[in-house]
Amino acid sequence: MTHFKLFENNEISRMSHVMMSPSRQSNLELAYSLSTYSVIGAFCTEDNVPQCLLHINQELASLGLPVCIEASSPEGANLNAVPVLNAVYELLQIHRRDMCTLEEMEKEQMKKSSSLDLIQMTNSRLKDQLELSIREKSGLYETERQLQLKLKTLQRCLKGEKDEVQKLQSIIASRASQYSHDAKRKEREAAKLKERLSQLLIDRKDKKLAIDVLNNLGRSDGKRSQWRTTKATASHEGEMYKFLLCDYEESQKSLVLENAELKKVLQQMKKEMMHILSPCQPSSRGATADEELAESDEDEKTRDSSRDTLDQSCEHAREQLTNSIRLQWRKLRNHVEKLDNQASQVLHQMESNKDMIPFETHQDEMERMRHEVQQCKEFIHAQQQLLQQQLSTSFDDETAALLYDCYTLEEKERLKEEWRLFEEQKRNFEKERRNFTEAAIRLGREKQAFEEDRAAWFKNHFLNMTPFTNRRRCSSSDGQSSLSIISEPEIRMSVKAHKAKASTYTTFSTPKSSRSTAAPSTTDLYRTLRLIPDCSSSMHSNQVWQESSTNGDEDIRIKSKSRGLHCSDLDIFALGEDDSLT
């Protein structure tokens, strides 16, 4: 009910407001009049109180208020205060309410007017824009029209040009044809003229045309010229085809070789790919292991088959090979891509963990280092202590050193003893060796003496045997004889040669050829007499020399002396030496 009442109240107030709004002016006037009331004349005077009351009551009734103002006395000026006050209060209330609504309405009006202004402004702006765009549009229309015009003219031009081009092309074509025709005509004429000229030349039987050769030459290949026969032409054909065939065979061979090489490369590539792929497959592709297995089986098969048919080099095998290579390649590529991805991921992780991991390790490292420092400090401390201890107990150390020295002294003594023993042994050995060499020399001398004796004996014997002793001696001493025994001067000569040779051998070891050129006859003789073994003598002398040089200075002197004096028995000596050594 109260709600309704309120609503009613509101309604009423609104109504009153509506009604009052035009009467506002009058109200104001009324207020004005009220303020001037005392001066000009009041609404209510003592005379017209009842009329006033009536009027006010009517007014109040018109306002919807209960008419209750009554005079306390029918003609008196006293009024019944309570209803009047109520009415006044009511009126005041109404007035306040009206004022409130008035204010609100004014505010609203302000808002409205401002929004109106805004709208008007935008409106005007939009109008401007519209105008502008309209102008633009018209401009564009204009340009378009112009462009179209231009296009039309250009098209017309193009058509004209095309016509021109066509015309020119046709002209060119006609000219070309004319030219070629002319050229052909002229060429024909020229050919005709040439023909005529040659005919004339033949007819004239040009006497000057001649070859003058002193005598005919043979063919460069030495063959005689052949008659032209069908056989010859056939052979020419055959030769030509043979020639071509050879060339093709050669090129084919080279191609086959190249092919084989390329195939080999492919195979190797494939093998390497498989090798690269196989170990990382299980780890990288755990999920698709079965698939992988199947694929690799397939690969195996294809590889085997390709290997079988490699030699046949048929298309099938090639296809298989290329297919398998392609497959492998794809796998490899996938794998590499995956690895790439992994690597990038790892890198990413690394980057993200960059700050974290080092911190922990840093801690650890610090701890470790501290520990180390501590250890080092302890170590230093211990060393210091030890040093001090050492300083305090230096006397003990001296005794220890003495002891140690004793030991070494003993050791030294022992070594000295051993050294002496060794020296003695060495000396003994040396002595024995010298004895040996001396014995060898003596043996040599004895042998030489024996040889001389024998020679003398032989000579004597021989001289005794022959009756013509004097003559024989002369002939034998003269030179090369057929005798198997050498005469004295010859020996000397050959010995000389040999000596020279020996010296060269020892110093330079010249090759054999020089020996043969030096004294061939004597050496041959010697060889026949088996006095010199072919080349071993030089070798022996060489060896001897080297041996002696190792033995000592005295030996060298002896040997050189013996060589100088008794060179004839050098080989003997050498043999003896050899014996003695062995």
Partner: protein, 460 residues
């Protein structure tokens, strides 16, 4: 490097015999044969007129001297100086003469290319080949001397005839797919014949010995085409130089292009070495020196030159050709493979001062030699990868993979090297001046000690 004294010669006719033992030179109407090792005159022959062409027979026993103006040919024998042979082509005239590979026949091309006459020195027999084509290279013998290819023109069509040189039997005669055949050349193995069209059309045809068309190659259309063609000694590559300043290399298996070498005016290839010849005029000597040096003034006037290695980018001077003239000076006109087929030297006509050396293994530019004057002639050493070139001055230039060197020819009287040729052993060079010649002996040690500009190691 040692130089011989100067000898007289005329018409640049100076040739070493194929066996490398003799040196034949023509002086006016005299033919002089010298021993190569001693340079002493062995024989002296007197021809009927001034010699315009001279050629050794393949067995080094005979020398052909052609006197084109008179239509005469004289042949001289080295073994029998009394022996003589004279061939008169008569009133028909003579434009070219050459030996057959067996050295017993002479092929004469008559005027107007009316016919090719084959004279036999063995039998005095004469035979004719009709309709030879007048072109850049219309006759070519295979390297082993077994076959001869002859370009012919009949009824406005090109034909190629292949003869067996042994008895001049016509083996094949086939029409070629050319508009206007310009040249033909056997591959060094003698199995493939390269035929190219005139410059109006880029077309190279490859025929087998039996006349089958193996392949056709055309790089482009509607522009001037092939300028020169060269086989590598291994028969592996066919290099084609064209008017678009490029060299294209065909392979011998598919006959397709495997490489293309361009000749740009600005070189910015860091892998190639650019040698630039730098000339230095000697400082003007003082009066005393001048008086002293009057005798050796000629050598003093010569400018010294050396090579400098330039770092890329480098601008090569380009001469713009006259478009209104026939045979414009543009495009690759000379191509030469080294004896081991490892290098290819080329010259682009509108950059006449530069020689380009290409590495055939890497298929890339190896070196560029920029000279101060236009390159006249270059030739590879027949034994080593070594290129000799001349520019018409008194210097000789050598390039090898190790470096580049310029050598002053120490000859009096302004000897200017117009052309050069190697001896077959690669031991010496014959330098031809205007009317003189000089031998230049290579020395291995000398070359080492010479002004060799080695490549800097830091430039890789």
């Amino acid at each position: 490097m040692n130089f011989s004294e100067l000898f007289k010669q005329s018409n640049q006719l100076c040739k070493v015999s194929p066996d490398g033992k003799y040196l034949a030179t023509c002086v006016q109407y005299r033919l002089v044969v010298r021993d190569v090792s001693t340079l002493q005159i062995l024989h002296l022959y007197t021809c009927l007129d001034q010699v315009s062409h001279m050629e050794w027979s393949s067995d080094s026993l005979f020398i052909l001297c052609a006197m084109y103006k008179r239509g005469l040919i004289q042949v001289w024998s080295l073994e029998q100086p009394d022996w003589h042979c004279k061939i008169d082509e008569g009133s028909i005239g003579l434009v070219s003469s050459r030996w057959s590979p067996d050295g017993r026949h002479i092929l004469n091309t008559t005027e107007f290319h009316l016919r090719v006459t084959v004279w036999s020195l063995c039998t005095k027999a004469v035979s004719y080949m009709k309709y030879p084509k007048a072109c850049q290279k219309g006759i070519d013998f295979s390297k082993d001397g077994g076959y001869m290819a002859l370009a012919e023109r009949r009824d406005c069509k090109d034909y190629v005839s292949i003869f067996v040189c042994e008895d001049w039997h016509l083996l094949r005669n086939f029409e070629t797919e050319t508009q206007d055949l310009s040249g033909l050349e056997w591959s060094p193995n003698g199995c493939v014949l390269a035929v190219w069209d005139s410059c109006l059309e880029y077309k190279v045809l490859l025929y087998s010995l039996d006349g089958r068309l193996l392949s056709t190659y055309s790089a482009y259309e509607w522009s001037l085409g092939v300028k020169c063609v060269s086989w590598s000694p291994s028969s592996q590559f066919l290099a084609i130089g064209s008017y678009d300043e490029k060299v294209r290399i065909l392979n011998h298996i598919t006959w397709g292009k495997i490489a293309q070498f361009e000749h740009p005016a600005s070189i910015d290839n860091t892998k190639a070495t650019v040698y630039k010849e730098v000339e230095r005029r000697p400082a003007v000597p003082s009066d005393e020196l001048l008086q002293h040096n009057i005798k050796v003034g000629s050598t003093l006037l010569n400018t010294k030159s050396k090579y400098e290695i330039c770092a890329p980018p480098i601008q090569i001077p380009v001469v713009k050709p006259d478009p209104d003239r026939a045979n414009p000076k543009i495009g690759v006109s000379v191509l030469a493979f080294s004896s081991d087929s490892r290098y290819l030297a080329s010259r682009n006509d509108n950059m006449a001062t530069a020689v380009w050396v290409w590495d055939m293994q890497k298929m890339s530019l190896e070196a560029v030699l920029e000279q101060t004057a236009a390159v006249r002639c270059f030739q590879w050493d027949p034994r080593h990868p070594r290129l000799a070139l001349c520019t018409g001055n008194s210097k000789l230039y050598l390039w090898s993979p190790r470096g580049c060197v310029s050598v002053q020819v120490p000859a009096e009287g302004g000897f200017q090297v117009q052309s050069l040729s190697w001896h077959c052993s690669g031991d010496f060079l014959i330098l031809l001046g205007k009317d003189q010649l000089c031998l230049c002996y290579m020395d291995a040690e000398q070359e080492e000690n010479g002004r060799l500009w080695r490549r800097k190691k830091d430039r890789k």
